[in-house]
């Protein structure tokens, strides 16, 4: 239980660090209405992207992590590339989480730190590297961190302390590895698919 509270404190610290970094760089982002609407549409698109993976193949828990991470990360990264600013990641991840909870899985405050942590880790990564998925390398690393954070947090914090479920270290390692692999693949797919979209966007057709 203490570890869970500790993780919540950690999330607050991360949030503070991000805010501080933004303040010192004078880079607190402003979001235009178009940015907000685009982020909103990406929340819906994220929901749609993972819909087919909620059933069928992904019901098999052993390989679920892999299959689930690919479309999620792909769509998320495309969204971030459309609005490359601090805060986009948080808007999309948390927005999607709230969307999902409000219309289907049910509102559950226990999941909120999870979404915030996933957002903050990525935000911090982008802030520190000063790169919002402009290069493939940045994207692959971001995918790595996303997978690592999310699965380690789930298996080492959420599962034991919220749900009181324990997993063997080797199992956690396999799941995390899958999650990381899936996230990296998703990151690559996202970069690949977003390139023509962005060039079309820049060209002015959209």
């Amino acid at each position: 239980m203490n570890l869970y509270i500790g993780s919540v404190i950690l999330i607050v610290i991360l949030g503070g660090a991000i805010f501080h970094l933004l303040r010192t760089r004078n880079a607190i982002p402003t979001f235009s209405i178009q940015d907000l609407v685009t982020a909103a549409l990406f929340c819906s698109l994220l929901y749609i992207a993972i819909l087919p993976f909620k059933f069928g193949l992904s019901r098999i828990p052993v390989i679920q992590a892999f299959f689930f991470s690919i479309p999620y990360t792909a769509m998320l990264f495309i969204g971030i590339r459309m609005i490359p600013k601090a805060g986009t990641t948080t808007l999309i991840i948390c927005g999607h989480s709230l969307l999902s909870q409000t219309i289907s899985s049910g509102v559950n405050p226990l999941w909120w730190p999870y979404a915030l942590l996933a957002s903050f880790v990525l935000e911090l990564y982008f802030l520190v590297t000063k790169n919002y998925l402009q290069t493939t390398r940045n994207a692959l690393c971001a995918g790595f961190f996303r997978g690592l954070t999310v699965y380690i947090y789930f298996y080492c914090f959420s599962a034991p302390f919220i749900w009181h479920q324990f997993y063997a270290p080797w199992y956690i390692a396999i799941q995390t590895a899958q999650g990381i692999a899936g996230s990296i693949i998703g990151a690559y797919i996202g970069m690949h698919l977003s390139k023509p979209i962005i060039s079309a966007f820049r060209y002015g057709g959209i």
Binding site: V37, A40, M75, G95, I103, S104, G106, L110, Q165, A168
Partner: protein, 263 residues
């Protein structure tokens, strides 16, 4: 679980009360340990859910979900139970058998683990029922309003509102695009087909969404949207909210005390 357009006791509660109840439930789910306390919690939440008088189909879906959680938790904890004493009822790998054995420390299904898993699944099931009850009894706009008044920033509220509004539109569009692709000869069968469909579905869907975003943003501009707004929808705390919260709070404290006192 979708919003149910009915008039039940739960529906009449302020969304903030329900969110607070959700929080209380969350605390109990984490804190309670003894089987009886967990069972009591589950029964309470089941009663709350039953207040909604849900349709047969919904009950079936939720039963399936709970049964799935039950089975998976039993199996996973059956495998990973690490406390002593434990009795293996089926051994798949002994700790001595080679590298796999020494890394994993042996893989076996333990009786105590299965029982433990069954018990812990009560937490999952309680969480499912409670969160579903909240969503089914609260209109999304009210829920977002409630969350807003409890601290969720306005902009996120707007983002979620817009995303809820456009979700069915995008789902429809995704289906049309997939159909158009099928008609152009794209093979979407099987796993490879699924990935192929995904790959070709995304660009037109995203580009159309981006165009839509631009148009919608203009429409928001001419509606004077700046982020700040007064709301027609009002959240009003009534006596029943205080009473419900009072009872829930008392129940929560009692359950925790009971657990602290019992051996």
């Amino acid at each position: 679980m979708k919003y149910l357009d009915k008039e039940t006791f739960l529906h009449r509660l302020d969304p903030r009360s329900k969110i607070v109840m959700g929080l209380m439930g969350a605390i109990l789910i984490v804190v309670l340990k003894t089987p009886i306390a967990l069972f009591l919690l589950f029964l309470t939440v089941l009663t709350i859910f039953a207040l909604l008088r849900p349709a047969r189909r919904t009950c079936r879906t939720i039963i399936v979900l709970m049964a799935t959680a039950f089975c998976f938790t039993m199996i996973s904890q059956g495998f990973f139970y690490a406390l002593e004493p434990r009795t293996a009822i089926m051994t798949f790998l002994t700790p001595e058998s080679g590298m796999m054995g020494s890394i994993t420390g042996g893989i076996a299904l333990y009786r105590e683990g299965i029982i433990y898993g069954a018990l812990q699944s009560l937490r999952l099931c309680s969480a499912m029922l409670l969160s579903a009850a909240i969503v089914m009894s609260t209109y999304p706009a009210d829920l977002l309003l409630g969350m807003g008044s409890l601290g969720v920033p306005e902009r996120i509220g707007f983002v979620v509102t817009v995303s809820i509004r456009f979700l069915p539109v995008l789902l429809d569009e995704a289906q049309r695009i997939l159909l158009a692709q099928k008609l152009r000869g794209l093979n979407t069968k099987g796993v490879r087909g699924g990935f192929r469909a995904f790959r070709y579905l995304l660009p037109p869907l995203i580009i159309d969404s981006l165009r839509n975003a631009r148009r919608t943003a203009l429409a928001a501009e001419v509606r004077a949207f700046t982020g700040k707004r007064t709301t027609v929808r009002e959240l009003r705390f009534a006596v029943r909210d205080w009473v419900t919260l009072g009872f829930s709070g008392a129940g929560m404290i009692m359950l925790i005390l009971y657990q602290a006192v019992s051996p």
